[in-house]
């Protein structure tokens, strides 16, 4: 059991950022453990992805097949299963993304490797790998262990820093192998969400609302407040799931990434799926009734309280300040 295997995630010709973050983490782990880092690239013949990560790992395992043009969990599972059984890596890393979540659990079951998913920390001590992940919507962290020498992880985006990739530069040995795919699942295509004209990625101020809004009728108060300060209204996933706002207003990993001067989060607990989309906001304000809500760890200013009480008071104070000016 030796070596760290990183699955390179790419979509429509673009290597996803999380791949570089994993390669950087694998590079530092590999150096400490004196284990080589292998990057696995699965793509169509003539693909450009392997070239983008060549030089950022010790071994580049590139597999080209027409069946690998677009992601297919079944195809990836067959190919990676073979690579894992021949390479016997001590650690397999893939992203905790729509790709990794579709692939890792069945691959773990097939290979018999233990899987710890959605990790935000990986270290190693005399007991082996120590994997840190969040539980209870980010309110607690948990340390996990593999009970064997080797295991598999899915890695949360932005948990590790890609840093200076030049520091990773090395000679990559290239390897390839022939494969034979047999697939039940068929990729048909991609669909973009329909555009409605609202583009919250361009807003300079955003008032975002989450689960804490409780009822659809309470949105009127939020909209009025947003209008008062000239902000666009955004939301986290539960508001979309309830059907109260259009998908184009969703902020987070499955929605939009925004970079306003001011972001005000109302009744948003701060699950990483949402905060992934607001990291670039200049001033982050959170209003939440749970003082331990994770949103307060990334916000600059906060009020602990019920949004239905705070919002009218805040609006009144703003009107008062403006009248004095």
């Amino acid at each position: 059991m030796s070596g760290i295997l990183v699955l390179v995630e790419h979509l429509r010709g673009e290597v996803r950022d999380v791949t570089y973050e994993m390669l950087a983490k694998a590079g530092s782990l590999g150096a400490a453990l004196k284990q080589p880092v292998s990057a696995v690239v699965l793509e169509a013949p003539g693909g450009v992805t392997a070239g983008k990560v060549a030089g950022l790992c010790d071994n580049l395992i590139g597999i080209e097949d027409a069946g690998l043009k677009d992601f297919n969990a079944e195809a990836y599972q067959q190919v990676l299963g073979d690579i894992i059984s021949s390479e016997k890596p001590s650690l397999v890393m893939m992203a905790h993304s729509a790709l990794g979540v579709d692939l890792a659990p069945s691959l773990a079951a097939k290979t018999g490797m233990p899987l710890v998913s959605d990790v935000i920390g990986i270290s190693r001590d005399d007991k082996g790998f120590l994997l840190t992940r969040q539980m209870y919507a980010g309110k607690l962290n948990a340390d996990w262990r593999f009970k064997s020498e080797s295991g598999m992880v899915t890695v949360r985006a932005a948990a590790f820093k890609a840093g200076d990739l030049n520091g990773l530069k090395r000679e990559s040995k290239h390897a390839s192998r022939a494969i034979q795919l047999s697939l039940r699942r068929k990729f048909l295509g991609y669909e973009e969400a329909p555009s409605t004209g609202v583009d919250i990625t361009k807003a300079t101020s955003i008032v975002a609302v989450g689960r804490g809004i409780k009822e659809q009728k309470n949105l009127a108060l939020v909209e009025q407040f947003a209008k008062r300060i000239g902000a666009e209204v955004g939301c986290s996933r539960p508001v979309i799931d309830a059907g109260w706002m259009g998908k184009e207003r969703q902020i987070g990993s499955s929605g939009k990434t925004v970079k306003p001067k001011l972001y005000v989060g109302l009744g948003i607990s701060g699950a990483f799926q949402h905060t992934a989309g607001i990291k670039a906001a200049e001033t982050i304000v959170a209003i939440n009734k749970d003082p331990n809500a994770p949103i307060f760890s990334i916000a600059h200013f906060g009020i602990v309280g019920d949004i239905m009480k705070v919002l009218p008071a805040l609006e009144a104070k703003i009107v008062e300040l403006r009248a004095r000016a």
């Binding site: 677009d70 969990a73 729509a98 979540v101 579709d102 659990p105 069945s106 773990a108 079951a109 097939k110 899987l115 710890v116 998913s117 959605d118 969040q134 539980m135 209870y136 309110k139 607690l140 948990a142 340390d143 996990w144 262990r145 593999f146 009970k147 039940r184 699942r185 068929k186 991609y190 669909e191 969400a193 101020s205 689960r211 300060i229 996933r237 539960p238 799931d241 059907g243 998908k247 499955s254 929605g255 939009k256 607990s269 982050i284 304000v285 959170a286 003082p291 307060f296 760890s297 600059h300 200013f301 906060g302 009020i303 602990v304 705070v310 008071a313 805040l314 009144a316 104070k317 000016a325």
Partner: protein, 267 residues
């Protein structure tokens, strides 16, 4: 159409404070409310919608203590036909792989056309059950499904189409043959509430309770022995930074915030 829905009873911690218990490996549960896992509730609704369109039966499967019967009874009240609850002291400390083995043992004899799971549990956030289950049952699968269409135009009898939710709102469209395992995203439908009539009818529906032996689960496949991973320690994360919490009553705190926003030129 025989449909199985996996559902988990979880603590609702979205707006509650969560504390670690004395074991250091679990949370204090006494003050928490419990409910069906959110995405499992959407999976259940999807199963009921399919049944209403194509006929068949919906079976609920859950691992859990006696209290999990509340979740199963509510599912039966909404329209599921029968339920299986798996419980045994031997299941304690089972990891995701071991729990999927338990579910697979109970599901395989039902020979379902479709197995629906929630995309992830809100307590552990692992998002592993559906994928492992598919492999154990020898079925194809798709995770993070935001839309599903059976008997779609132009597809052969057993094929169906799913739309997987990728990052940034992009959807990936796939065709799968039945039988298959699908994990369902929240928002795929609007889950119904149980009717008074449904709640009455649910009392007469079958709710089977199976232990390890009855389900055919080998003791070595579950619990600590059957788990390849172990939770070592649960702890409150130390955050690098924290918001400046504006103190005082609602008016005072709001006044401070308004002043800060004004000084920063944000109003």
């Amino acid at each position: 159409m025989e449909i199985v829905v996996c559902c988990k009873r979880v603590p609702d911690t979205s707006e509650a404070e969560v504390a670690v218990d004395t074991s250091g490996r679990d949370i204090r549960r006494e003050r928490l409310a419990f409910t069906i896992n959110e995405s499992d509730n959407y999976a259940l609704e999807e199963a009921l919608l399919i049944k209403e369109k194509l006929g068949g039966a919906v079976t609920l499967v859950s691992i859990g203590p006696k209290e999990a019967d509340d979740v199963l009874r509510m599912g039966l009240a909404k329209g599921a036909d029968k339920a299986v609850r798996l419980t045994d002291d031997k299941f304690a400390e089972s990891d995701a792989m071991a729990r999927a083995r338990i579910l697979a043992r109970a599901i395989a004899p039902l020979k379902p056309d479709l197995v629906l799971c929630g995309s992830q549990a809100s307590d552990d956030g692992e998002a592993q059950t559906g994928g492992i289950l598919a492999e154990l049952l020898g079925l194809p699968h798709a995770a993070y499904v935001a839309k599903l269409s059976l008997r779609h135009d132009g597809l052969s009898g057993s094929a169906f189409k799913v739309w997987r939710e990728l990052e940034g709102g992009l959807l990936e469209v796939l065709e799968l043959p039945l039988p298959a395992v699908v994990t369902v995203q929240t928002g795929i439908n609007q889950p119904r509430y149980a009717s008074i009539m449904g709640i009455k009818r649910a009392q007469a529906k079958e709710l089977k309770v199976l232990d390890a032996a009855a389900a055919g689960v080998a003791p070595g496949d579950v619990g600590t022995q059957g788990s390849g991973t172990a939770l070592e320690k649960l702890f409150v994360p130390v955050t690098e930074s924290h918001a400046e919490i504006l103190q005082g009553d609602v008016n005072e705190a709001s006044g401070k915030l308004a002043q800060i926003l004004k000084e920063r030129g944000l109003l």
